[in-house]
């Protein structure tokens, strides 16, 4: 159950300015049905260049509909230059706030507004802002570009990957771009993302149960270590594992070898630390 404000509920239940303007001066369409939300925003200007009418159509959840509705209210009476300054945070504020996971709905509103203004300028054949280079795609699942991620971070002071996902949806699918997003956060804020309780990406090898650990040690010895020793006529046997202490016994030529200590440390321990856990200590027993 979402904790929506009364304002959100009101704009959802009684959305203002639903509809289609046939002879609109500007139309902006953002999002897509596949992504789960989409917004078409239309407006008309009066002779003084002020927005006299704004209408919307939205596919999406309650907060997407409420964000669109409140945005149309905010736009009317403004010039395009004024309307362009509306931020996604202002949209959210007018609704008394949105749940974190729903902030992307306010971003959708702001994007639709920009798209509509751009559409108007194109129709006027006026000066268009210089066409920027196509921004690199960061999140493939939701089609979010680097520029969109950077802007959301800047305008909303985002500090975590989770924030970026809440505001832009980037990283909300397969999660493959989380590191990329972290780098972008670092680039913009100058600091690495704040640590959040997020799931460990790499399985920590330290989470092994005892049985799994012993098994992994045995496998590593058989696969990685014994072939090396056997080349020199030596061998090794696993005797016991007590917490992080691995007890082994050297066999064959190794058992008489004066450099056996180095074998243990440089070969056996190193391999076990690489393949099992970092904290293992190898001990020789006779």
């Amino acid at each position: 159950m979402w904790d929506y404000t009364d304002k959100v509920r009101d704009h959802f239940k009684n959305p203002r300015n639903i509809g289609f303007i046939k002879d609109a001066d500007g139309v902006g369409e953002v999002g897509s049905m596949a992504c789960g939300d989409a917004l078409r925003l239309m407006f008309k200007l009066d002779d003084d260049g002020k927005i006299t009418e704004a209408k919307f159509q939205t596919f999406g959840c309650a907060s997407a509909i409420a964000s669109s509705s409140v945005l149309t209210e905010m736009m009317v009476g403004l010039t395009l230059e004024e309307a362009e300054k509306i931020t996604n945070q202002q949209i959210a504020d007018r609704l008394g706030g949105l749940p974190d996971q729903k902030m992307h709905c306010s971003v959708l509103g702001r994007e639709a507004l920009e798209a509509a203004v751009l559409d108007y300028r194109k129709r006027q054949g006026g000066e268009l802002p210089e066409k920027k280079e196509e921004s690199r795609l960061v999140c493939i699942c939701f089609g979010v570009t680097e520029e969109e991620v950077e802007r959301a971070i800047r305008e909303n002071n985002l500090t975590t990957v989770e924030d970026v996902t809440n505001y832009t949806k980037a990283g909300g699918g397969c999660g493959g771009c989380h590191e990329d997003i972290a780098l972008i956060i670092e680039k913009i804020t100058g600091k690495p993302p704040e640590e959040q309780e997020k799931e460990v990406k790499e399985p920590s090898k330290k989470n092994l149960t005892n049985i799994q650990k012993i098994q992994l040690i045995q496998e590593t010895i058989d696969r990685e270590i014994r072939p090396i020793l056997q080349k020199d006529g030596g061998d090794l046997e696993l005797i016991d594992v007590d917490r992080n202490v691995v007890q082994v016994s050297l066999r064959g030529t190794c058992s008489q070898c004066r450099v056996a200590f180095f074998t243990l440390r440089d070969v056996v321990e190193a391999k076990l630390r690489e393949f099992v856990t970092e904290d293992l200590v190898v001990e020789e027993v006779q």
Binding site: G36, Q57, F59, G60, C61
Partner: protein, 393 residues
């Protein structure tokens, strides 16, 4: 505030009044510990035994001792899968399951995959059904356990578990089924079905929350997850949750008694709801073919599930959705995606799940209120009513 029309029974159910009554004395009077030597505590044990029999009867299990009480469906699923793997001590490292499992199995298997186990997740077709040949082909000498749900919580699709159990049994592999949605709705006869492990949950069949059971066929090797005392024959330590166990026993008995007539009634009501919706709401599809009697999962094209839920909530109608927004994630349900339901339909999917306590008047009320909601949201939608979308589609 409207009276609640509760159509979310695959999420949880109303506790049956008979169950509440059965539990009451175990809160108020018989609070002893069944492991105690004195009569006051030890006397409670016979009520545990009775509950075990009641659950065993519902499942057609041969011995009541095959029932292990747990804290719910999720614990049962964890005990079944991880308990089996641990009993095998890593000798076998392959798990087979499906792409549509409940998170209690699915997330667990994904976790085990990270821990180094091999995982095969069998796909389903558009109707949510498995290809049993793929199951046959997937089983290898390294397969430790096959875990396949009996009925799907989102769509109600029933898998042919008897056939599946035979296939797995022939290969000598342990078979677990998460039957949380099936128990009490589908006849189960464990004496004649080679299922080794079966999970169930109390609160899905009008019992209390926080109680469930794992059926463990006699002779099945299983390591406990919770280690401590000797309770539940060493398979699940901890002083028994006596009131909840007694409640589960009563719920199981009621389910067994009422199943046949209830299923007939539920099929009638569910079909009435289904036909009514399809007749009044265009561009609507039903997800899943061979289903539980109580479940209807419908997709309303062009609109989003959370918005539908909130609109229905205004009238007290409680249901759930596989839409991304309703869950707080950004992608629609894994079940819808596994079935190849287009995103557009998955976002607008609504699950109605009925129970013993729903009436025909309630279904009529939904059929009266829902079509205008769908129409209203489609008026807001930029995709409905033949609108074309010229943006970045």
């Amino acid at each position: 505030m409207n009276p609640v029309i509760y159509l979310d029974n695959n999420a949880t159910t109303r506790v049956a009044p008979e169950v509440v009554e059965a539990i009451r004395p175990f809160w108020e009077d018989y609070y002893g510990n069944p492991s105690s030597m004195h009569q006051f505590g030890g006397g409670v044990r016979k009520h545990l035994d009775r509950a075990r029999e009641q659950v065993a009867e519902l499942l057609g299990a041969e011995y009541p001792s095959e029932i292990v009480f747990t804290a719910g469906g999720s614990e049962s699923d964890n005990l079944a899968i991880r308990g089996t793997l641990e009993a095998l001590a890593g000798k076998k490292r392959h798990i087979i399951t499906t792409r549509v499992e409940h998170p209690a199995v699915r997330s667990q298997c994904h976790h085990l995959k990270k821990m180094g186990y091999r995982l095969t997740e069998l796909p389903v077709d558009n109707h949510g059904e498995l290809d049993l040949n793929q199951l046959r082909d997937a089983i290898t000498s390294d397969t430790a356990i096959v875990s396949i749900m009996w009925a799907n919580n989102e769509t109600g699709v029933i898998f042919p578990i008897e056939k599946i159990a035979e296939i797995v049994h022939e290969k000598g592999v342990v078979f677990h089924t998460d039957a949380v949605q099936a128990v009490g709705k589908v006849p189960i006869d464990l004496k004649n079905t080679p299922i080794d492990l079966l999970s169930l949950s109390g609160h899905k069949l009008h019992g209390p929350k926080g109680i469930g059971a794992l059926y463990v066929r006699k002779g099945t090797k299983l390591m406990p997850l919770i280690i401590g005392g000797h309770q539940e024959r060493g398979k699940r330590a901890g002083t028994e949750n006596v009131p909840a166990i007694v409640g589960l026993g009563m719920a199981a008995e009621l389910a067994r008694k009422h199943m046949k007539e209830e299923n007939e009634r539920l099929i009638y009501l569910r079909n009435k709801l289904e036909k009514g919706i399809l007749a009044t709401c265009p561009d609507t599809r039903v997800n899943g073919r061979h289903r539980l009697p109580n479940t209807l999962n419908v997709s309303f094209e062009y609109i989003e599930g959370e918005a539908i839920l909130l609109m229905m909530d205004e009238f007290g109608i409680s249901a759930s959705s596989g839409s991304a927004c309703a869950s707080g994630s950004l992608e629609p349900s894994h079940v819808m995606r596994a079935m190849g339901i287009p995103f557009t339909a998955a976002h607008g999917s609504i699950r109605f799940s009925l129970s013993r306590y729903n009436t025909e008047e309630e279904i009529d009320f939904v059929l009266e209120k829902l079509p205008p909601i769908i129409q209203r949201l489609r008026e807001i939608s930029p995709f409905a009513n033949g609108m074309t979308w010229g943006g970045d589609e």
